[in-house]
Subunit: 111 residues, 2 copies
DNA sequence: TTGATACTTAGTCATGTGACGAAGTATTGA
DNA sequence: TCAATACTTCGTCACATGACTAAGTATCAA
């Protein structure tokens, strides 16, 4: 598996979990600490931390520790990579449908 | 978890596996049977079938059996839903950056 | 300096996932 | 009819995932 494939796998895996998507949504409103992130969820801190680490590994989120507080923020690179993959595939399929339609119209005219 | 959340979870989970992404890529070139799909991969038929079933459940792919052959094709709905989520979040974050930049510029002028 | 705060690590557990081979079913072609 | 084809189901297995509690460590405030 190429690095690009690996990156996509990590991005989509990270986004496959509803808690992690909620974290991403929250971070789109602005940076937050681990404690702030954990508040809206009914999960233990170590569990939340693990989610943040997965998001960080996938490149969706970056973090920085200052004193005893770790601040998390969104990174758009991985979001864009996922979006690019989806759009490319949508475009591929739609091109195919267009070509098919064109082909059918050509056939009709020939009658 | 709402139905929409569930749908997103299934879509992103489905896309998290490289074999399944390869199946989606292949099907963007046009419909294919289970046998045709399995050829490029070094995996057993039951494994491939399971992947196709996961893709079908997520709504990314639809299948139809005629005689003894099952034909698989892309469905764009789930692809679009995933793309929408990503684009919405990219937009959210970029709006925030714009507002921040505007704020900084306003502060500068006030000096 | 010392107690509170904010994570962090370690260890455990139930469940889910992706893989396989073997054996089954339903169609098709000769 | 009957062998070949194209899945499909079944049972199993190793490993990954997401959750927890308990017990750390590092920083800050009084």
């Amino acid at each position: 598996m190429t690095k690009y494939q690996n990156q996509l796998t990590e991005t989509f895996s990270a986004l496959a979990d509803p808690t992690r998507r909620a974290i991403v949504s929250r971070l789109c409103e602005g940076p937050a600490s681990i404690g702030e992130l954990s508040e809206p969820f009914k999960i233990a801190l170590p569990t939340l931390l693990k989610h943040v680490q997965i998001l960080e590994k996938s490149g969706l989120v970056s973090t920085q520790k200052t004193g005893r507080v770790r601040t998390c923020r969104i990174e758009t690179g991985a979001l864009k990579a996922g979006d690019d993959w989806l759009r490319q595939h949508l475009a591929l399929w739609e091109d195919r449908l267009d070509r098919m339609e064109h082909h059918i119209n050509t056939m009709k005219k020939e009658h």
